[in-house]
Protein backbone atom coordinates (compact mmCIF):
# COMPACT_ATOMS: atom_id res chain seq x y z
CA UNK A 1 0.00 0.00 0.00
CA UNK A 2 1.47 3.35 -1.01
CA UNK A 3 1.83 5.69 1.94
CA UNK A 4 0.72 9.28 2.25
CA UNK A 5 4.37 10.35 2.08
CA UNK A 6 4.44 9.13 -1.52
CA UNK A 7 1.71 11.61 -2.32
CA UNK A 8 2.45 14.60 -0.16
CA UNK A 9 6.09 15.49 -0.83
CA UNK A 10 7.35 18.52 1.03
CA UNK A 11 7.70 20.56 -2.14
CA UNK A 12 4.02 19.98 -2.91
CA UNK A 13 2.96 21.25 0.47
CA UNK A 14 5.26 24.21 0.02
CA UNK A 15 3.61 25.20 -3.27
CA UNK A 16 0.21 24.61 -1.68
CA UNK A 17 0.95 26.92 1.24
CA UNK A 18 2.72 29.55 -0.89
CA UNK A 19 1.30 29.30 -4.37
CA UNK A 20 3.22 31.09 -7.11
CA UNK A 21 1.57 33.41 -9.62
CA UNK A 22 -1.74 33.67 -7.83
CA UNK A 23 -3.95 36.48 -9.04
CA UNK A 24 -5.51 37.85 -12.15
CA UNK A 25 -4.56 39.53 -15.41
CA UNK A 26 -6.68 42.12 -17.18
CA UNK A 27 -8.99 40.48 -19.73
CA UNK A 28 -8.51 41.33 -22.53
CA UNK A 29 -5.71 41.35 -23.54
CA UNK A 30 -5.30 38.22 -21.38
CA UNK A 31 -7.45 35.11 -21.84
CA UNK A 32 -9.45 33.76 -18.92
CA UNK A 33 -10.45 30.08 -18.76
CA UNK A 34 -12.10 28.12 -15.96
CA UNK A 35 -11.56 24.46 -15.24
CA UNK A 36 -13.61 22.14 -13.02
CA UNK A 37 -12.99 18.78 -11.45
CA UNK A 38 -16.49 17.47 -10.92
CA UNK A 39 -15.18 14.69 -8.70
CA UNK A 40 -14.14 16.78 -5.73
CA UNK A 41 -15.21 20.27 -6.67
CA UNK A 42 -11.81 21.76 -7.49
CA UNK A 43 -12.07 24.91 -9.54
CA UNK A 44 -9.26 26.67 -11.28
CA UNK A 45 -9.10 29.90 -13.23
CA UNK A 46 -6.21 30.57 -15.56
CA UNK A 47 -5.34 34.04 -16.84
CA UNK A 48 -2.97 33.73 -19.73
CA UNK A 49 -1.28 36.16 -22.03
CA UNK A 50 0.45 34.84 -25.11
CA UNK A 51 2.66 36.98 -27.29
CA UNK A 52 4.76 35.95 -30.27
CA UNK A 53 3.85 32.33 -29.78
CA UNK A 54 5.07 32.21 -26.18
CA UNK A 55 3.58 32.47 -22.71
CA UNK A 56 4.14 36.06 -21.68
CA UNK A 57 2.37 35.90 -18.35
CA UNK A 58 0.11 33.62 -16.35
CA UNK A 59 -1.94 33.94 -13.15
CA UNK A 60 -3.89 31.33 -11.25
CA UNK A 61 -7.15 31.69 -9.34
CA UNK A 62 -9.69 29.30 -7.87
CA UNK A 63 -9.88 26.84 -5.04
CA UNK A 64 -8.69 23.31 -4.78
CA UNK A 65 -6.88 20.62 -2.90
CA UNK A 66 -3.14 20.56 -2.29
CA UNK A 67 -2.53 18.45 -5.37
CA UNK A 68 -4.45 20.61 -7.82
CA UNK A 69 -3.17 23.84 -6.31
CA UNK A 70 0.46 22.82 -6.15
CA UNK A 71 0.32 21.39 -9.65
CA UNK A 72 -1.07 24.69 -10.89
CA UNK A 73 1.52 26.66 -9.00
CA UNK A 74 4.45 24.60 -10.30
CA UNK A 75 3.01 24.67 -13.78
CA UNK A 76 2.71 28.44 -13.74
CA UNK A 77 6.35 28.76 -12.75
CA UNK A 78 7.61 26.42 -15.43
CA UNK A 79 5.59 27.60 -18.43
CA UNK A 80 6.34 31.28 -18.16
CA UNK A 81 8.34 32.51 -21.16
CA UNK A 82 8.10 29.09 -22.82
CA UNK A 83 6.92 28.86 -26.42
CA UNK A 84 3.60 27.23 -27.10
CA UNK A 85 5.42 24.28 -28.62
CA UNK A 86 7.54 23.89 -25.49
CA UNK A 87 4.43 24.06 -23.31
CA UNK A 88 2.91 21.35 -25.44
CA UNK A 89 5.94 19.13 -24.89
CA UNK A 90 5.88 19.82 -21.16
CA UNK A 91 2.19 18.96 -21.01
CA UNK A 92 2.79 15.69 -22.79
CA UNK A 93 5.66 14.82 -20.52
CA UNK A 94 3.61 15.66 -17.46
CA UNK A 95 0.68 13.57 -18.63
CA UNK A 96 2.98 10.69 -19.43
CA UNK A 97 4.25 10.89 -15.85
CA UNK A 98 0.61 10.69 -14.78
CA UNK A 99 0.26 7.49 -16.87
CA UNK A 100 -2.11 9.18 -19.26
CA UNK A 101 -1.62 7.80 -22.72
CA UNK A 102 -0.65 10.64 -25.05
CA UNK A 103 0.84 10.82 -28.47
CA UNK A 104 1.63 8.19 -31.03
CA UNK A 105 -2.06 7.76 -31.74
CA UNK A 106 -4.17 9.10 -34.54
CA UNK A 107 -4.88 12.34 -32.72
CA UNK A 108 -1.67 13.72 -34.13
CA UNK A 109 0.00 14.28 -30.77
CA UNK A 110 3.72 13.84 -30.63
CA UNK A 111 5.12 11.12 -28.39
CA UNK A 112 6.35 12.52 -25.07
CA UNK A 113 9.88 13.79 -25.47
CA UNK A 114 12.19 12.00 -23.03
CA UNK A 115 14.45 15.05 -22.92
CA UNK A 116 11.85 17.34 -21.43
CA UNK A 117 12.79 18.19 -17.83
CA UNK A 118 9.89 18.54 -15.44
CA UNK A 119 11.93 19.85 -12.53
CA UNK A 120 9.89 20.46 -9.37
CA UNK A 121 6.92 18.89 -11.06
CA UNK A 122 8.51 15.49 -10.61
CA UNK A 123 7.45 15.71 -7.01
CA UNK A 124 3.96 14.94 -8.31
CA UNK A 125 5.09 11.54 -9.50
CA UNK A 126 3.60 9.84 -6.45
CA UNK A 127 0.14 10.91 -7.55
CA UNK A 128 0.11 8.07 -10.01
CA UNK A 129 -0.24 5.62 -7.13
CA UNK A 130 -3.45 7.40 -6.13
CA UNK A 131 -5.39 7.29 -9.40
CA UNK A 132 -8.28 9.41 -8.12
CA UNK A 133 -5.85 12.28 -7.62
CA UNK A 134 -4.60 12.25 -11.21
CA UNK A 135 -7.57 14.40 -12.16
CA UNK A 136 -6.55 16.89 -9.48
CA UNK A 137 -3.00 17.02 -10.78
CA UNK A 138 -3.95 17.41 -14.43
CA UNK A 139 -6.78 19.91 -13.99
CA UNK A 140 -4.55 22.96 -14.40
CA UNK A 141 -2.78 21.45 -17.39
CA UNK A 142 -6.00 20.72 -19.24
CA UNK A 143 -7.24 24.18 -18.46
CA UNK A 144 -3.96 25.66 -19.69
CA UNK A 145 -4.28 23.76 -22.96
CA UNK A 146 -7.71 25.25 -23.46
CA UNK A 147 -6.45 28.74 -22.56
CA UNK A 148 -3.64 28.43 -25.09
CA UNK A 149 -6.08 27.33 -27.79
CA UNK A 150 -8.29 30.31 -27.07
CA UNK A 151 -5.41 32.74 -26.87
CA UNK A 152 -3.94 31.51 -30.15
CA UNK A 153 -7.35 31.66 -31.82
CA UNK A 154 -7.73 35.31 -30.84
CA UNK A 155 -4.11 36.04 -31.91
CA UNK A 156 -4.68 34.66 -35.38
CA UNK A 157 -6.12 37.11 -37.84
Amino acid sequence: MPGLEDLYREIILDHYRSPRNRGELPVPPATRVEGFNPLCGDEIVIFLSVANGAVEDIRIGGQGCSISQSSASMMSAVVKDKTVAEVHRLTNAFKAMMSIHVGGDDHGDALPDPDVKLGDLEALQGVVKFPVRIKCATLSWNTLAQAIDEAMASEDP
Binding site: L13, G64, S66
Partner: protein, 412 residues
Protein backbone atom coordinates in the same frame (compact mmCIF):
# COMPACT_ATOMS: atom_id res chain seq x y z
CA UNK B 1 -28.81 3.81 24.49
CA UNK B 2 -32.33 5.13 24.41
CA UNK B 3 -33.36 4.03 20.96
CA UNK B 4 -34.53 0.58 20.05
CA UNK B 5 -32.27 -0.25 17.12
CA UNK B 6 -29.92 -3.18 17.69
CA UNK B 7 -27.04 -1.82 15.63
CA UNK B 8 -24.81 -4.84 16.13
CA UNK B 9 -27.52 -7.04 14.65
CA UNK B 10 -28.08 -4.60 11.84
CA UNK B 11 -24.36 -4.46 11.03
CA UNK B 12 -24.32 -8.23 10.74
CA UNK B 13 -26.93 -8.02 7.96
CA UNK B 14 -24.58 -6.05 5.68
CA UNK B 15 -21.92 -8.27 4.11
CA UNK B 16 -19.74 -5.37 2.99
CA UNK B 17 -19.14 -4.30 6.57
CA UNK B 18 -17.02 -7.43 7.06
CA UNK B 19 -14.61 -6.17 4.49
CA UNK B 20 -11.13 -5.02 5.40
CA UNK B 21 -9.59 -1.98 3.73
CA UNK B 22 -5.98 -0.97 4.13
CA UNK B 23 -5.68 -3.60 6.85
CA UNK B 24 -8.51 -2.32 9.04
CA UNK B 25 -12.28 -2.53 9.09
CA UNK B 26 -14.43 -0.57 6.67
CA UNK B 27 -16.02 2.45 8.34
CA UNK B 28 -18.69 3.55 5.96
CA UNK B 29 -19.85 7.10 6.55
CA UNK B 30 -21.14 8.02 3.10
CA UNK B 31 -24.73 6.80 3.13
CA UNK B 32 -26.07 10.13 1.92
CA UNK B 33 -24.19 9.31 -1.26
CA UNK B 34 -25.32 5.72 -1.47
CA UNK B 35 -26.30 3.24 1.21
CA UNK B 36 -25.04 -0.28 1.72
CA UNK B 37 -27.36 -3.22 1.03
CA UNK B 38 -28.50 -5.84 3.50
CA UNK B 39 -28.33 -9.52 2.59
CA UNK B 40 -32.13 -9.63 2.35
CA UNK B 41 -32.13 -7.18 -0.56
CA UNK B 42 -29.45 -9.08 -2.45
CA UNK B 43 -31.25 -12.35 -1.74
CA UNK B 44 -34.56 -11.02 -3.07
CA UNK B 45 -32.96 -10.06 -6.39
CA UNK B 46 -31.00 -13.30 -6.62
CA UNK B 47 -34.18 -15.25 -5.89
CA UNK B 48 -36.01 -13.42 -8.63
CA UNK B 49 -33.30 -14.10 -11.20
CA UNK B 50 -32.94 -17.73 -10.18
CA UNK B 51 -36.67 -18.49 -10.10
CA UNK B 52 -38.98 -16.04 -11.86
CA UNK B 53 -36.96 -13.96 -14.27
CA UNK B 54 -39.24 -12.97 -17.15
CA UNK B 55 -40.47 -9.81 -18.71
CA UNK B 56 -43.51 -8.22 -17.07
CA UNK B 57 -47.00 -7.31 -18.31
CA UNK B 58 -46.33 -9.31 -21.44
CA UNK B 59 -45.96 -12.95 -20.63
CA UNK B 60 -48.76 -15.45 -20.54
CA UNK B 61 -46.86 -18.17 -18.70
CA UNK B 62 -46.21 -18.89 -15.06
CA UNK B 63 -42.87 -17.22 -14.42
CA UNK B 64 -43.96 -14.12 -16.35
CA UNK B 65 -46.98 -13.91 -14.08
CA UNK B 66 -44.76 -14.32 -11.03
CA UNK B 67 -42.44 -11.59 -12.29
CA UNK B 68 -45.36 -9.24 -12.93
CA UNK B 69 -46.82 -9.93 -9.51
CA UNK B 70 -43.46 -9.41 -7.83
CA UNK B 71 -43.00 -6.06 -9.57
CA UNK B 72 -46.49 -4.89 -8.69
CA UNK B 73 -46.12 -6.10 -5.11
CA UNK B 74 -42.97 -4.04 -4.83
CA UNK B 75 -44.93 -1.05 -6.06
CA UNK B 76 -47.61 -1.67 -3.43
CA UNK B 77 -44.96 -1.92 -0.72
CA UNK B 78 -43.41 1.37 -1.74
CA UNK B 79 -46.84 2.99 -1.89
CA UNK B 80 -47.68 1.82 1.63
CA UNK B 81 -44.24 2.86 2.90
CA UNK B 82 -44.73 6.46 1.85
CA UNK B 83 -48.42 6.69 2.68
CA UNK B 84 -49.53 6.91 -0.94
CA UNK B 85 -53.30 6.63 -1.28
CA UNK B 86 -52.97 4.26 -4.24
CA UNK B 87 -50.31 1.98 -5.72
CA UNK B 88 -50.84 3.33 -9.18
CA UNK B 89 -49.50 6.68 -7.98
CA UNK B 90 -46.03 5.13 -7.65
CA UNK B 91 -44.02 5.42 -10.87
CA UNK B 92 -40.76 3.51 -11.08
CA UNK B 93 -37.89 5.42 -12.68
CA UNK B 94 -34.15 4.75 -12.75
CA UNK B 95 -33.24 7.24 -10.03
CA UNK B 96 -34.46 10.42 -8.36
CA UNK B 97 -32.83 12.38 -11.17
CA UNK B 98 -35.10 10.80 -13.77
CA UNK B 99 -38.08 11.39 -11.47
CA UNK B 100 -37.33 15.10 -11.26
CA UNK B 101 -36.65 15.31 -15.00
CA UNK B 102 -40.03 13.71 -15.60
CA UNK B 103 -41.70 16.41 -13.55
CA UNK B 104 -39.79 19.28 -15.11
CA UNK B 105 -40.07 18.03 -18.65
CA UNK B 106 -43.33 16.11 -18.98
CA UNK B 107 -45.41 18.22 -16.59
CA UNK B 108 -43.34 21.34 -17.12
CA UNK B 109 -43.31 21.39 -20.92
CA UNK B 110 -47.08 20.92 -20.93
CA UNK B 111 -47.81 23.57 -18.32
CA UNK B 112 -45.10 26.22 -18.31
CA UNK B 113 -44.31 29.00 -20.73
CA UNK B 114 -41.98 31.98 -21.00
CA UNK B 115 -41.92 34.11 -17.87
CA UNK B 116 -43.48 31.46 -15.61
CA UNK B 117 -41.74 31.25 -12.26
CA UNK B 118 -40.26 28.13 -10.67
CA UNK B 119 -39.11 28.53 -7.08
CA UNK B 120 -36.22 26.44 -5.73
CA UNK B 121 -34.19 26.73 -2.54
CA UNK B 122 -30.50 27.52 -2.29
CA UNK B 123 -29.80 24.07 -0.90
CA UNK B 124 -31.04 21.99 -3.82
CA UNK B 125 -29.18 19.08 -5.33
CA UNK B 126 -28.27 19.52 -9.01
CA UNK B 127 -30.99 16.99 -9.84
CA UNK B 128 -33.53 19.59 -8.78
CA UNK B 129 -31.75 22.49 -10.50
CA UNK B 130 -30.38 21.51 -13.88
CA UNK B 131 -33.67 20.22 -15.37
CA UNK B 132 -35.17 23.62 -14.56
CA UNK B 133 -32.17 25.36 -16.14
CA UNK B 134 -32.84 23.32 -19.27
CA UNK B 135 -36.45 24.50 -19.21
CA UNK B 136 -35.25 28.04 -18.74
CA UNK B 137 -33.10 27.72 -21.85
CA UNK B 138 -35.88 26.04 -23.79
CA UNK B 139 -39.00 27.89 -22.69
CA UNK B 140 -37.81 31.01 -20.96
CA UNK B 141 -39.12 30.13 -17.50
CA UNK B 142 -37.65 32.11 -14.63
CA UNK B 143 -36.03 30.68 -11.48
CA UNK B 144 -36.33 32.18 -8.01
CA UNK B 145 -34.39 30.99 -5.02
CA UNK B 146 -35.51 30.69 -1.40
CA UNK B 147 -32.49 31.74 0.66
CA UNK B 148 -31.04 29.96 3.66
CA UNK B 149 -30.02 31.49 6.97
CA UNK B 150 -26.49 31.53 8.37
CA UNK B 151 -27.21 28.45 10.49
CA UNK B 152 -28.40 26.47 7.48
CA UNK B 153 -32.15 26.69 7.92
CA UNK B 154 -34.49 27.83 5.22
CA UNK B 155 -35.15 31.54 5.68
CA UNK B 156 -38.92 31.62 6.17
CA UNK B 157 -39.34 35.38 6.49
CA UNK B 158 -39.95 36.01 2.81
CA UNK B 159 -41.26 32.65 1.67
CA UNK B 160 -44.73 33.82 0.75
CA UNK B 161 -43.51 36.89 -1.10
CA UNK B 162 -41.02 34.86 -3.13
CA UNK B 163 -43.51 32.11 -3.93
CA UNK B 164 -46.24 34.59 -4.90
CA UNK B 165 -47.13 34.19 -8.57
CA UNK B 166 -45.08 31.02 -9.02
CA UNK B 167 -46.23 27.98 -10.99
CA UNK B 168 -43.92 25.46 -9.30
CA UNK B 169 -42.24 25.24 -5.91
CA UNK B 170 -39.69 22.44 -5.87
CA UNK B 171 -37.50 21.70 -2.87
CA UNK B 172 -35.60 19.06 -0.93
CA UNK B 173 -37.29 17.67 2.18
CA UNK B 174 -33.85 17.16 3.73
CA UNK B 175 -30.63 18.78 2.54
CA UNK B 176 -27.96 16.33 1.40
CA UNK B 177 -25.25 18.76 2.51
CA UNK B 178 -26.51 20.46 5.67
CA UNK B 179 -28.89 17.82 6.97
CA UNK B 180 -31.51 20.53 7.36
CA UNK B 181 -35.05 19.20 7.43
CA UNK B 182 -37.30 21.64 5.66
CA UNK B 183 -40.86 22.46 6.78
CA UNK B 184 -42.44 20.47 3.97
CA UNK B 185 -46.08 21.03 4.85
CA UNK B 186 -45.49 24.75 5.31
CA UNK B 187 -43.92 25.04 1.84
CA UNK B 188 -46.53 22.87 0.17
CA UNK B 189 -49.27 25.06 1.63
CA UNK B 190 -47.50 28.22 0.51
CA UNK B 191 -47.18 26.76 -2.98
CA UNK B 192 -50.84 25.83 -3.18
CA UNK B 193 -51.82 29.20 -1.74
CA UNK B 194 -50.00 30.78 -4.66
CA UNK B 195 -51.60 28.41 -7.16
CA UNK B 196 -48.31 26.57 -7.73
CA UNK B 197 -47.70 22.83 -7.65
CA UNK B 198 -45.41 21.50 -4.92
CA UNK B 199 -42.61 19.09 -5.83
CA UNK B 200 -40.66 17.46 -3.01
CA UNK B 201 -37.22 15.93 -3.52
CA UNK B 202 -37.37 13.40 -0.70
CA UNK B 203 -34.19 11.54 -1.67
CA UNK B 204 -32.63 12.23 1.73
CA UNK B 205 -35.87 11.97 3.67
CA UNK B 206 -37.57 8.70 2.74
CA UNK B 207 -34.57 6.58 3.80
CA UNK B 208 -34.28 8.23 7.19
CA UNK B 209 -37.68 9.16 8.59
CA UNK B 210 -41.29 8.05 8.35
CA UNK B 211 -42.78 9.66 5.26
CA UNK B 212 -46.41 10.33 4.45
CA UNK B 213 -46.85 11.98 1.11
CA UNK B 214 -50.58 12.44 1.69
CA UNK B 215 -49.94 14.30 4.94
CA UNK B 216 -47.42 16.48 3.12
CA UNK B 217 -50.12 17.28 0.57
CA UNK B 218 -47.56 17.56 -2.20
CA UNK B 219 -48.23 17.03 -5.89
CA UNK B 220 -45.05 15.14 -6.74
CA UNK B 221 -42.46 13.44 -4.52
CA UNK B 222 -39.19 12.04 -5.90
CA UNK B 223 -36.69 9.70 -4.27
CA UNK B 224 -34.12 7.07 -5.13
CA UNK B 225 -33.68 3.40 -4.24
CA UNK B 226 -29.95 3.15 -3.70
CA UNK B 227 -29.96 5.56 -0.76
CA UNK B 228 -32.55 3.52 1.15
CA UNK B 229 -30.80 0.13 1.23
CA UNK B 230 -32.10 -0.72 -2.23
CA UNK B 231 -30.14 -1.46 -5.40
CA UNK B 232 -28.86 0.97 -7.98
CA UNK B 233 -30.97 1.51 -11.10
CA UNK B 234 -34.30 2.23 -9.43
CA UNK B 235 -36.01 5.45 -8.41
CA UNK B 236 -39.52 6.55 -7.62
CA UNK B 237 -41.80 9.36 -8.60
CA UNK B 238 -44.98 9.60 -6.63
CA UNK B 239 -47.71 11.91 -7.86
CA UNK B 240 -51.36 12.33 -7.06
CA UNK B 241 -53.59 10.38 -9.44
CA UNK B 242 -55.01 13.66 -10.68
CA UNK B 243 -51.69 15.18 -11.65
CA UNK B 244 -50.32 11.95 -13.11
CA UNK B 245 -53.44 11.52 -15.24
CA UNK B 246 -53.06 15.08 -16.48
CA UNK B 247 -49.34 14.81 -17.24
CA UNK B 248 -48.36 13.74 -20.76
CA UNK B 249 -45.99 10.80 -21.12
CA UNK B 250 -42.24 11.33 -20.89
CA UNK B 251 -40.09 8.50 -22.23
CA UNK B 252 -42.05 6.44 -24.73
CA UNK B 253 -42.01 3.01 -26.30
CA UNK B 254 -43.23 -0.39 -25.14
CA UNK B 255 -45.30 -0.86 -21.96
CA UNK B 256 -46.58 2.71 -21.89
CA UNK B 257 -49.04 2.39 -24.76
CA UNK B 258 -52.52 1.03 -25.31
CA UNK B 259 -52.29 1.23 -29.05
CA UNK B 260 -49.78 2.26 -31.71
CA UNK B 261 -50.45 2.78 -35.39
CA UNK B 262 -48.39 4.36 -38.13
CA UNK B 263 -50.29 7.56 -37.41
CA UNK B 264 -50.00 7.86 -33.65
CA UNK B 265 -50.41 6.25 -30.26
CA UNK B 266 -52.64 6.17 -27.20
CA UNK B 267 -51.20 5.86 -23.74
CA UNK B 268 -51.67 3.20 -21.11
CA UNK B 269 -53.10 3.93 -17.65
CA UNK B 270 -50.99 5.37 -14.86
CA UNK B 271 -48.44 4.42 -13.65
CA UNK B 272 -47.43 2.41 -16.73
CA UNK B 273 -47.91 5.43 -18.96
CA UNK B 274 -44.63 6.68 -17.48
CA UNK B 275 -42.72 3.39 -17.55
CA UNK B 276 -41.47 3.00 -21.10
CA UNK B 277 -39.58 -0.12 -22.01
CA UNK B 278 -38.62 -3.06 -19.87
CA UNK B 279 -38.60 -1.78 -16.30
CA UNK B 280 -35.86 -2.35 -13.74
CA UNK B 281 -37.69 -5.45 -12.55
CA UNK B 282 -35.12 -7.02 -10.27
CA UNK B 283 -34.27 -3.58 -8.91
CA UNK B 284 -37.90 -2.80 -8.06
CA UNK B 285 -38.11 -6.14 -6.27
CA UNK B 286 -34.89 -5.30 -4.43
CA UNK B 287 -36.36 -1.96 -3.43
CA UNK B 288 -39.43 -3.76 -2.12
CA UNK B 289 -37.16 -5.93 0.02
CA UNK B 290 -35.39 -2.81 1.28
CA UNK B 291 -38.74 -1.37 2.30
CA UNK B 292 -39.51 -4.61 4.14
CA UNK B 293 -36.17 -4.36 5.91
CA UNK B 294 -36.69 -0.75 6.94
CA UNK B 295 -40.22 -1.50 8.12
CA UNK B 296 -38.79 -4.36 10.13
CA UNK B 297 -36.51 -1.90 11.90
CA UNK B 298 -39.31 0.65 12.17
CA UNK B 299 -38.82 4.10 10.71
CA UNK B 300 -39.31 5.73 14.08
CA UNK B 301 -36.49 3.65 15.49
CA UNK B 302 -34.36 4.53 12.47
CA UNK B 303 -34.95 8.22 13.04
CA UNK B 304 -34.39 7.95 16.79
CA UNK B 305 -31.11 6.13 16.19
CA UNK B 306 -29.91 8.78 13.78
CA UNK B 307 -30.84 11.68 16.03
CA UNK B 308 -29.07 10.04 18.92
CA UNK B 309 -25.96 9.13 16.90
CA UNK B 310 -25.81 12.54 15.22
CA UNK B 311 -26.00 14.14 18.66
CA UNK B 312 -23.13 11.95 19.79
CA UNK B 313 -21.12 12.88 16.72
CA UNK B 314 -21.70 16.61 17.10
CA UNK B 315 -20.67 16.45 20.77
CA UNK B 316 -17.63 14.27 20.10
CA UNK B 317 -16.32 16.47 17.31
CA UNK B 318 -16.89 19.63 19.35
CA UNK B 319 -15.12 18.16 22.38
CA UNK B 320 -12.14 16.89 20.45
CA UNK B 321 -11.58 19.69 17.96
CA UNK B 322 -13.38 22.75 19.30
CA UNK B 323 -13.26 25.71 16.97
CA UNK B 324 -10.89 23.99 14.54
CA UNK B 325 -13.79 22.02 13.17
CA UNK B 326 -16.84 23.70 11.72
CA UNK B 327 -19.98 21.66 11.04
CA UNK B 328 -22.35 23.38 8.64
CA UNK B 329 -26.09 23.32 9.22
CA UNK B 330 -28.39 23.19 12.25
CA UNK B 331 -26.68 22.71 15.59
CA UNK B 332 -29.50 20.67 17.12
CA UNK B 333 -29.50 16.99 16.12
CA UNK B 334 -33.27 16.85 16.47
CA UNK B 335 -33.63 19.37 13.65
CA UNK B 336 -31.49 17.60 11.11
CA UNK B 337 -30.72 14.38 9.35
CA UNK B 338 -27.52 12.45 10.01
CA UNK B 339 -25.53 14.35 7.40
CA UNK B 340 -22.58 16.38 8.64
CA UNK B 341 -20.66 18.60 6.27
CA UNK B 342 -17.60 20.04 7.88
CA UNK B 343 -14.40 21.91 7.30
CA UNK B 344 -11.35 21.38 9.46
CA UNK B 345 -8.92 24.24 9.86
CA UNK B 346 -7.79 25.23 6.41
CA UNK B 347 -7.25 21.68 5.24
CA UNK B 348 -8.90 21.00 1.93
CA UNK B 349 -11.60 18.29 2.17
CA UNK B 350 -9.95 16.17 -0.47
CA UNK B 351 -6.68 16.11 1.48
CA UNK B 352 -8.60 15.35 4.64
CA UNK B 353 -10.47 12.41 3.16
CA UNK B 354 -7.25 11.13 1.62
CA UNK B 355 -5.96 10.58 5.14
CA UNK B 356 -9.31 9.17 6.24
CA UNK B 357 -9.11 6.58 3.51
CA UNK B 358 -5.88 5.21 4.96
CA UNK B 359 -7.88 4.57 8.12
CA UNK B 360 -10.74 2.87 6.29
CA UNK B 361 -13.02 5.84 6.89
CA UNK B 362 -15.25 6.54 3.88
CA UNK B 363 -16.26 10.19 3.80
CA UNK B 364 -17.08 12.17 0.69
CA UNK B 365 -15.20 15.34 -0.24
CA UNK B 366 -16.61 17.66 -2.84
CA UNK B 367 -19.53 19.84 -3.77
CA UNK B 368 -22.07 17.04 -3.20
CA UNK B 369 -23.91 18.04 -6.37
CA UNK B 370 -24.94 21.28 -4.73
CA UNK B 371 -22.64 23.88 -6.20
CA UNK B 372 -25.00 26.81 -5.76
CA UNK B 373 -25.14 25.98 -2.03
CA UNK B 374 -21.35 25.75 -1.89
CA UNK B 375 -21.21 29.29 -3.22
CA UNK B 376 -23.67 30.46 -0.60
CA UNK B 377 -21.56 28.79 2.08
CA UNK B 378 -18.48 30.43 0.60
CA UNK B 379 -16.57 27.18 0.08
CA UNK B 380 -15.63 25.15 -2.98
CA UNK B 381 -16.08 21.85 -1.23
CA UNK B 382 -16.76 20.23 2.14
CA UNK B 383 -16.05 16.90 3.71
CA UNK B 384 -19.32 15.14 4.47
CA UNK B 385 -19.89 12.28 6.89
CA UNK B 386 -23.33 10.72 6.87
CA UNK B 387 -24.86 8.14 9.16
CA UNK B 388 -27.32 5.35 8.72
CA UNK B 389 -28.79 2.33 10.46
CA UNK B 390 -25.54 0.34 10.48
CA UNK B 391 -23.41 3.07 12.03
CA UNK B 392 -22.58 3.24 15.72
CA UNK B 393 -20.54 5.29 18.15
CA UNK B 394 -17.40 3.33 17.30
CA UNK B 395 -17.74 4.55 13.70
CA UNK B 396 -18.01 8.13 14.92
CA UNK B 397 -14.96 7.64 17.13
CA UNK B 398 -13.05 6.27 14.16
CA UNK B 399 -13.94 9.42 12.22
CA UNK B 400 -12.66 11.58 15.06
CA UNK B 401 -9.44 9.56 15.21
CA UNK B 402 -9.00 9.97 11.46
CA UNK B 403 -9.42 13.74 11.75
CA UNK B 404 -6.78 13.76 14.46
CA UNK B 405 -4.50 11.70 12.24
CA UNK B 406 -4.92 14.18 9.40
CA UNK B 407 -4.10 17.08 11.69
CA UNK B 408 -1.06 15.18 12.74
CA UNK B 409 0.09 14.25 9.27
CA UNK B 410 -0.15 17.76 7.92
CA UNK B 411 1.40 18.85 11.24
CA UNK B 412 -0.94 21.71 11.79
Amino acid sequence: MSHSLDVAAVKADFPILDREVHGGRLIYLDSANTSQKPRAVLAAMEHYYANSNANVHRGTYLIAEEATNALEEARAKVARFIGAPASQEVVFTKNATESLNLVAKAWGRANLRAGDVVVLTELEHHANIVPWHQLHDELGIELRWLPITADGHLDLTEVDRIIDGAKVVSFAATSNVLGTMLPVRRLVDAAHQAGAIAVVDASQHVPHAATNVAAWGADFVAFTGHKMLGPTGIGVLWGTSEILEATPPFLSGGEMILNVTKEGFTTNDIPWKFEAGTPAIAEAIGLGAAVDYLEGLGMDAVREHEVSLTGYALRTLAERFGEDLCVHGPADAAERGGVMSFTFKNLHPHDLTQVFDQHGVCVRAGHHCAKPLMRVLGVAATARASLYVYNDEADVDALADAIAAAADFFSF
